[in-house]
């Protein structure tokens, strides 16, 4: 049965040295975490797309076993959960991996992102507490400004909710987030101003962070972010990707640290994805924070670490650290 490919499915299934490198990095994380799998909460949670390429990688690596008819082996049924909200894509994915747990929702609905006090129930709640959460999100970083022009970042909010669920279930003491975004944000002028202010205020407060940002962006940041013109029009080449590498980890920290997670950024990667689309991928380790310094202190202390591992993945798959 032929199901038309969505562009996102094709993009996720691309074979290139760049994609291979990205896959290798998160796969390594899954290997590292595999020993902690408790058979109740998943090892791996992912937006797999219809082709389930990442599930295939786990199978090829021996992390997920198949039975004699190519389905997920009985003892590994709980290891992976795929998030896919298109029924035909669900069918295709299920055809490829009989027995695979697929939640037919998008992440936003799954975590009840719109309602702070609403949570996934029953098994869906357990499934959110995976050892490796791989969010290969379609689209760019979204920003929402309320009536007071206070910014929120919906996708970061989803991650924050996952962090809260992880914390409440106390399933694992440590987990890894892999977050991928398209790096062509379509922010309005007002949104750009807001982000500019966010970054510049942090630069002023944290000199090490400022130094990292300016090194990464190779520009006089204040001049760009403080200018009257929207900065996206000014940024060239891979600057938008570099900007996101500076911004997103900080946002993640702000979302996850209050929920008792200490964050270590391993990689902030930028590269060209399918069809040359600029992409960014973050690989972040979270561990249960020990009681001690306040959240604010931890955030401040971590500022200079949030830009660890900023690197470009070149066309041949090599990593060039910035």
């Amino acid at each position: 049965m032929v199901i038309p490919h969505r562009p996102v499915d094709a993009a996720m299934d691309v074979d290139s040295p760049v994609k291979a490198r990205v896959r290798a990095l998160w796969l390594n994380k899954v290997r590292q975490r595999a020993g902690s799998f408790d058979e109740v909460h998943p090892l791996y949670f992912s937006l797999t797309g219809a082709e389930g390429r990442d599930i295939r990688e786990l199978v090829n690596d021996g992390l997920v076993r198949l039975n004699s008819v190519g389905g997920i082996a009985e003892q590994d049924l709980r290891k992976c959960v795929a998030i896919e909200n298109s029924p035909p894509a669900v069918a295709r994915l299920q055809e490829r991996f009989p027995g695979l747990k697929i939640v037919e929702k998008d992440v936003r609905s799954l975590v009840h992102a719109e309602t702070p006090l609403a949570w996934p129930q029953g098994d869906e709640r357990l499934l959110c507490a995976a050892l490796v959460v791989n969010l290969d999100l379609p689209g760019a970083l979204l920003i929402h400004l309320d009536e007071h022009l206070v910014a929120s970042f919906p996708q970061i909010g989803w991650v924050g909710k996952i962090g809260q669920i992880q914390r409440s279930l106390a399933a694992y003491d440590a987990w890894t987030l892999c977050l991928t975004l398209n790096a062509t944000p379509a922010w309005s002028e007002g949104e750009q101003q807001n982000i500019g202010q966010l970054i510049t205020s942090n630069i002023d407060d944290h000199p090490p962070y400022r130094a990292r940002v300016e090194t990464a962006l190779r520009i006089e940041l204040r001049a760009v972010l403080g200018a009257a013109a929207p900065f996206l029009a000014v940024l060239a080449n891979d600057d938008a990707q570099r900007l996101l590498c500076m911004l997103v980890p900080k946002l993640l920290a702000e979302a996850l640290t209050p929920n008792g997670w200490a964050m270590t950024v391993e990689w902030c990667l930028f590269y060209e994805g399918g069809n040359g689309a600029p992409m960014v991928t973050f690989i972040v380790d979270l561990s249960r924070a020990t009681p001690g310094p306040s959240m604010t202190t931890r955030l401040r202390a971590g500022m200079s670490d949030f830009t660890n591992g900023v690197s470009r993945i070149e066309e041949n798959g090599n990593i060039q650290t910035i």
Binding site: M1, V2, P4, N67, S68, V69, G70, G71, I72, A73, E74, L77, R78, S86, P87, P88, V90, A91, Q94, E95, P98, G99, L100, K101, I102, E104, D123
Partner: protein
């Protein structure tokens, strides 16, 4: 996906049918799945895939059959009644005899789920039908659901027409919000002996399935396997999938060749979470009989086979006769053999399994549930009578070949063994007796053994003391009294 043409409607069902739908017939998930698979068969699908694992919170059934357009969907489901499915033809375009009379399978799904989502497209069309059927309407009181004197609304649906590739043809059904009991059964939480988790057939290849059936320890599938697997077996038993490889011992294969080839000729493959379905009928006994059946009468005709093996069939699920019409099973095996007198060949009835592939004429006797037959219908009566006659003769043959003859053989073997034991005991009496004396005693013994009465007694007598009596009897015929005394005392000493 929301930029297609949208539409809504109600599925209305003839009152006569609704009673059956509501009577709980399809509460058994296997019954519902069977209907949906048979629908795919009628749509000329070569391949059907059913996905239930890991936890049956959603069931997917997809097939590469003809599919349907919006027009066809609405034409059929806006007024579901009898005789619609075969309005055009009794056969599918590839020549398969259509199983279903009405599209009851779709609606039967309401017993196990609250929502069904359908995606379907036909070859040559660029339309992809997408319909979501809400069975919540079913839960309303009957009065609220009546639309006309003869129709009752069964569900609401909303749909849209999307785009598909012209060459595509398929149907995907998503059974969502699967209901409590059905979900529990399908997920396989229970089953097995005493409610413990039984063996699972999840992910079994054909060989593994065959091996699992061949090594069953319990008497019934539901005692051996978990609910997930029992459901899988029930579906496989019912729908027109092929038999297992070597399901019949080699020497019986000729008797079942016709039925076997008929099914494999359809090219209809069904998988259950990737596991290929095969009819779970497997006979492995070395001591068996198999006879092909054929009958062509005034009101009905059938072919099939009768199989009997020495000792009770295991699993018991296969004991009885299974009727198939248009290659789809009508209910389950009937261990009463359609009312065959239980007093005739009582012991041997439990040794017998049979399948009858009955022609269309029996369909008129089929109740709408497709699980039972009206036993007053002429086609049923004729079939029953013909089958009973065949069964009667077969049971007599089974008794002779599988019971009497082997029993006689066993008696003869026992007699020979006993004679050998007695002879050996006497021979061991040297040197207490001379070789000549021993030889004469054995001569008498051999002569006696050829007497039928003696031989019969010998076949029953196998205790040590009875062997002693035989030896003494032979010795008394040959030896002098004093020698007999010595013989007896020596014999007693040897026999301890």
């Amino acid at each position: 996906m929301a930029d297609g043409v949208e539409f809504t409607g109600e599925i209305r069902v003839a009152s006569r049918i609704v009673d059956y739908l509501s009577s709980g017939l399809y509460k058994d998930p296997a019954a519902c799945l069977k209907e949906l698979v048979n629908n795919a068969f009628d749509a000329d699908a070569a391949r059907v895939a059913i996905f239930v694992k890991p936890d049956a919170d959603r069931i997917i059934i997809e097939d590469d059959g003809m599919g349907m357009t919006r027009k066809e969907f609405q034409a059929h489901f806006d007024h579901v009644s009898e005789s619609r499915k075969r309005d055009q033809s009794d056969l599918t375009p590839t020549g398969r005899p259509k199983i279903g009379l009405i599209g009851i399978g779709f609606i039967a799904a309401n017993e196990i789920c609250d929502v069904m989502e359908v995606f379907s497209t036909t070859e040559g069309s660029t339309e992809l039908l997408h319909v979501t059927i809400d069975f919540a309407e079913m839960r309303k009181p009957a009065g609220e659901r009546r639309r006309t004197d003869s129709e009752i609304a069964k569900a609401d649906y909303r749909g849209e027409v999307l785009k598909a590739a012209k060459s595509d043809h398929y149907t995907q059904l998503f059974l969502k919000q699967v209901r409590g009991d059905a979900r529990r059964i399908l997920a396989g939480a229970g089953g097995g002996m005493y409610g413990d988790r039984g063996r699972s057939l999840y992910g079994s290849s054909v060989d593994e399935l065959r091996s699992a059936l061949a090594t069953m320890r319990q008497r019934k599938w539901t005692d051996e396997f978990d609910d997930y697997s029992s459901t899988m077996l029930q579906v496989a038993l019912n729908v027109p999938v092929a038999y297992l490889p070597q399901w019949m011992p080699r020497s019986g294969h000729r008797a079942v060749k016709t039925v076997e080839e008929r099914l494999s000729g359809f090219g209809f493959d069904v998988s259950y979470d990737g596991a290929p379905l095969r009819k779970p009928i497997l006979f492995t006994s070395d001591d068996f009989l198999c006879r092909p059946l054929r009958f062509d009468g005034e009101h009905v005709g059938f072919d099939g086979y009768l199989y009997a093996q020495r000792y009770n069939l295991k699993p018991q699920d296969l004991n009885g006769v299974l009727i198939r019409i248009r290659n789809s099973a009508v209910g389950e095996y009937r261990p009463d053999f359609l009312g065959f007198p239980s007093s005739r060949y009582t012991l041997f009835q439990k040794w017998v399994s049979s399948e009858l592939y009955v022609d269309d004429r029996l369909e008129a006797a089929l109740n709408i549930d497709r699980r039972t037959l009206r036993d007053t219908h002429p086609a049923y009566i004729e079939m029953q009578s013909a089958f009973h006659e065949l069964l009667d003769g077969f049971l007599e043959t089974a008794r002779q070949e599988l019971y009497d003859k082997p029993a006689e053989q066993r008696r003869n073997l026992r007699a020979a063994t006993n004679v050998k034991a007695v002879r050996s005991t006497i021979e061991d009496l040297q040197p207490a007796l001379s070789a000549a004396q021993i030889g004469r005693i054995i001569q008498v013994l051999d002569k006696r053994v050829n007497e039928v009465r003696f031989r019969r007694a010998l076949s029953k007598n196998y205790s040590a003391s009875q062997l002693f009596d035989l030896a003494v009897e032979a010795a008394e015929a040959v030896l002098e009294p004093r020698e007999v005394e010595r013989f007896v005392s020596e014999l007693m000493r040897r026999l301890g």
